[in-house]
């Protein structure tokens, strides 16, 4: 009898263990689906459910906050998704939060991500409808990735062609990239640059010393720059002289301007000669007449010299000269 009782006890423990584990498992599953705790309902209307199913998770700022309980089509372009959310997130969920359909990982189940807005709004109420955001569909991401891969392929093909052209042409770019002598020359150049830099550094040091000396009033430049009173006086005299010269030059220029103006207007003999054509013509005639008169006068004088009356006079004159 005692043996039978022990058997019954063992069997009872065995069966109860199975039942307890089953109930515990069912409770944990229900707990994950928010079936036991206090919950509230919210809705969101999407244009495309993107494969969302009843029982999919709902996350609020990355935390599991509830599950999708119902998906129904309300018209040809609107799908209303009903979600039950844990009451503990209600104080933090605002009416302007945005719900998006996403994927758990790259290949995981669909889920609804609720993201809070940066603008403060009223706390959500049971039965409110959230704003729907664009979904991050893996298929779309893969499509874009495929396009990008195509572009990369095209670019790599172009680069390959360019590289082949460079190698085939053996031009300057080839020399820069592949000619080993360029590298040695480059080394020499770098050494020269280094030496030049060293010289420039020395020069800078010397210049800095010189500037220091100048500042302290040493040397010619220092005395010039530092003896401000003498320099100022000399500069002032020079400026005064330049100013005076400029004034004189201006007066001369003004006088010349007036003379030229008068000449242009025909005032004075020169003006008449320059501007009056009649007078110029008369003057020309006069000169011509004068020229012929002089010629005739010379002829007359020659005749006089040859005349017996005055011949002796002219001979005496010649001898005295």
């Amino acid at each position: 009898m005692a043996k039978e009782t022990a058997r019954h006890v063992r069997l009872g423990i065995f069966v109860m263990a199975g039942i307890v584990l089953l109930i515990l498992g069912l409770y944990l599953i229900g707990n994950n689906k928010n079936l036991w705790g206090e919950t509230f309902r919210v809705y969101v209307v999407f244009r495309n459910a993107s494969g969302l199913q009843n029982g999919n998770n709902v996350r609020f700022s990355g935390i599991n906050a509830g599950t999708v309980t119902n998906i129904e089509m309300i018209n040809d372009s609107s799908i209303r998704v009903e979600m039950i959310l844990d009451m503990s997130i209600k104080p933090y969920l605002r009416k302007n939060a945005v719900a998006r359909i996403g994927t758990d990982g790259l290949m995981g189940n669909k889920l609804v991500n609720i993201e809070p807005s940066s603008v403060l709004s009223e706390v959500i109420e049971d039965g409110d409808t959230l704003t729907a955001g664009g979904s991050t569909d893996t298929a779309q991401i893969l499509k874009k990735l495929d396009e990008t891969a195509g572009n990369v392929n095209s670019i790599s093909s172009d680069i390959k062609t360019i590289t082949e052209n460079i190698r085939r042409s053996k031009g300057s770019l080839y020399s820069v990239l592949l000619d080993t002598t360029i590298a040695s020359r480059l080394n020499v150049s770098i050494d020269n640059i280094s030496e030049m830099t060293e010289n420039f550094r020395n020069f800078s040091t010397a210049l800095a010393d010189m500037m220091a000396e100048t500042k302290s009033g040493k040397g010619l430049l220092g005395s010039v720059t530092n003896d401000t009173s003498m320099l100022y006086r000399q500069l002032r005299n020079a400026v005064t002289l330049m100013e005076k010269s400029g004034k004189d030059l201006s007066e001369v220029t003004n006088g010349l301007n007036e003379s030229v103006k008068k000449l242009n207007q025909g005032h004075g003999s020169a003006g008449v000669l320059l501007n009056d054509s009649v007078s110029a013509m008369e003057l020309k005639n006069t000169i011509s007449n004068l020229d012929s008169s002089v010629y005739n006068f010379n002829e007359n004088m020659k005749a006089l010299q040859e005349s017996w009356l005055l011949r002796s006079y002219f001979r005496r004159q010649k001898k005295s000269n």
Partner: protein, 269 residues
């Protein structure tokens, strides 16, 4: 069954038809046996003490075998699946994947097959021995209903105990899986269980339990049927035990197939 080289010979066809007739006759006998079980279970007297005794023999005494097998299955399944998931960078999916595999399919089927091997053969051999030693006939003569006492109690015990063994086996297999995950990486039991229970649903657990009830019933039915109708002396006892295991295992796979179709039809998975 070997068929003659000439398929048109009357002997070959008669053997094919004979085999088919035998198969359908046996299927009909098993159906009638099952109907008799339901008829007997509804009416008193109820053999509770015998049911409890058989439950202890069938369920409790099979637990160690089921537990060890389940632990190894969970451990090995995880270790074998891990490298593939690691290649895809999806190591974090390991608990969820193993959890679903164990609870939906591997747990119930492996446990049922073990029970078919251990319990089915045991019942077949025990009832066969009782038949060939005329103990069943003696019970009928003494006025006791041997079907109610021997068959109903065993079939009820297998139908109840196999689901319990499946639940315990699933739990142990998940623990084995956790050990395997823990061997390769730092994952806490809480995180492991959280990942497992996040991935499974009532649609995974309830069909699995319902399925295991049918598995238990099938194991009890084949074991009892083959043992109850054992013929041809002690050699028949061995054949009954063997047939109970073979037919029981086959029925488990057929029930599993039907269960998958039903759950998919109702959109539970």
């Amino acid at each position: 069954m070997a068929i003659d080289s000439d398929p048109n010979s009357p002997g070959a066809w008669s053997r094919v038809f004979g085999g088919m007739r035998k198969f359908f006759a046996e299927a009909g006998d098993i159906s009638a046996f099952a109907i008799r079980f339901f008829r007997e279970i509804l009416f008193p007297p109820y053999e509770f003490r015998e049911v409890i005794r058989q439950s202890y023999e069938i369920g409790y005494k099979s637990f160690s075998l089921v537990g060890i097998t389940a632990f190894i299955i969970g451990l090995v399944l995880t270790l074998q699946s891990r490298p593939t998931l690691v290649e895809f960078g999806a190591e974090a999916w390991l608990p969820a994947m193993v959890g679903i595999s164990i609870i939906r399919e591997i747990g119930p089927v492996i446990t049922a097959l073990i029970c078919a091997g251990k319990i089915g053969s045991g019942i077949g051999a025990e009832l066969g021995s009782m038949r060939v030693t005329e103990q069943i006939d003696a019970m009928e003569v003494s006025g006791t209903n041997p079907f109610k006492y021997i068959v109903v109690s065993r079939m009820v015990a297998t139908t109840v105990m196999v689901p319990v063994l499946v639940i315990l086996g699933d739990t142990i297999a998940l623990y084995g899986s956790f050990i395997a995950v823990k061997l390769k990486g730092a994952v806490s039991l809480k995180l492991f269980l959280s990942q497992v229970f996040e991935s499974i649903d009532y649609g995974d657990v309830i069909p699995s339990i319902v399925k295991s009830v049918f598995f238990g019933f099938a194991i009890g039915l084949t074991g009892c049927f083959k043992g109850y109708y054992t013929k041809k002396g002690t050699a028949g006892v061995g054949r009954s035990a063997n047939s109970a295991v073979v037919i029981g295992s086959l029925l488990i796979f057929i029930i599993d197939l039907i269960a998958v179709q039903i759950t998919q039809f109702f959109g539970i998975f």
